[in-house]
């Protein structure tokens, strides 16, 4: 397992509100504007899958349009690039979160990325499957470990048969 990089990001109330809204979480604690004096909303913890939104702050995250780079989504044609994108055939197979303590709006976290195991499997619905494990450990400003996310991605040989 190798350490790759770190990304430091603020857990902002407005971001948490947008995230909660997008998953249909209407807990009122995510929708109050804070006390107006710079203190964040009253929520005592973010939704459990919120740490994934660190992607917004990851400078290398591939699934976002970047300045000066071709984007693979449609424009005049069905794709802005000629070949398949680097992320092609990649699907999310599993995701696990473990919380050492709740993550609260208003704090600043550092995510440390590392690569886990890789393995292969044959499938009738999508051909050869290649699984890769990715770990993200989140630390607070005092260096305390607050959360571990373990994602397993799968790359398929062909699009998953819907039959």
């Amino acid at each position: 397992m190798s350490n790759e990089k770190t990304v430091t990001f603020p857990v902002e109330g407005a971001h948490v509100m947008l995230f909660a809204r997008s998953i249909g979480d209407y807990n009122p604690a995510y929708h109050d504007p804070g006390d107006g004096e710079g203190n964040p909303m009253s929520a005592r913890a973010v939704p459990p899958t919120f740490p994934q939104a660190v992607a917004q702050f990851d400078p290398d995250y591939p699934l976002r349009i970047k300045d000066g780079e071709a984007w693979f989504g449609s424009g005049a044609g069905p794709s802005g690039i000629k070949d398949k994108p680097a992320t092609s055939g990649g699907l999310h197979a599993e995701q696990h979160f473990e919380y050492i303590r709740p993550i609260r709006p208003g704090e600043v976290l550092t995510a440390r990325y590392s690569q886990g195991d890789t393995w292969e499997k044959e499938s009738r619905r999508a051909g050869k499957l290649t699984f890769t494990e990715r770990l993200v450990d989140y630390y607070d400003r005092d260096g305390n470990h607050v959360c571990r996310a373990r994602g397993i991605g799968v790359r398929t040989e062909r699009p998953v048969d819907q039959g």
Binding site: H15, L18, F19, R21, S22, I23, G24, D25, N27, A43, R44, A45, V46, P47, P48, T49, Q52, A53, A55, Q56, D58, Y61, L63, R64, I65, F72, G73, S74, P78, S79, T87, S88, L91, H92, A93, E94, Q95, H96, F97, E98, Y99, P102, R150, R158, P159, V160, Q162
Partner: protein, 138 residues
């Protein structure tokens, strides 16, 4: 949730989305930062990627299922939450999440519950299988 209010084997059910809208996929893309066109761009899906159309981010299905977990425990009491994505979720799907209490135990002086999770679409097809651990109030 109080320890006295639940028992092993008890189930809780929640419709976490009814007739999933493409707009919700756009909302999740914007909030999470995952702008993969597979989730918002029908033309790309059909003509470049070989899919019948846009489909939900696995993490959106996990997030929606997670609202049942946080309804039960409160977000500050969730200690573990994990899922396996077993089928794709499409616009128009209605998803029902079910939590089954599997174990209640003392852990470091606190009462914790383990729940099994399964989310199914309107055809009874399982889209997410998982589990969660949360602290219970005394």
């Amino acid at each position: 949730m109080k320890a006295s209010e639940i028992s092993v084997g008890q189930t809780f059910e929640k419709v976490v989305v009814e007739d999933l809208k493409r707009t919700q996929l756009v909302m999740y893309s914007g909030a999470s930062g995952d702008y993969n066109p597979l989730h918002t761009d029908d033309l790309y899906c059909k003509e470049a990627a070989g899919y019948p159309g846009v489909f939900a981010h696995g993490m959106l299905t996990m997030g929606m299922t997670g609202t049942l977990v946080t309804d039960l425990f409160g977000p500050e009491n969730v200690r573990k939450y994990g899922v396996r994505f077993t089928n794709q979720v499409w616009p128009g799907d209605t998803l029902t999440a079910t939590a089954t209490v599997q174990e209640i135990r003392q852990d470091d002086g606190q009462v914790v519950a383990e729940i099994g999770l399964e989310t199914k679409n309107q055809d009874g097809k399982t889209v997410v299988l998982g589990s969660a651990t949360g602290l219970l109030e005394d």
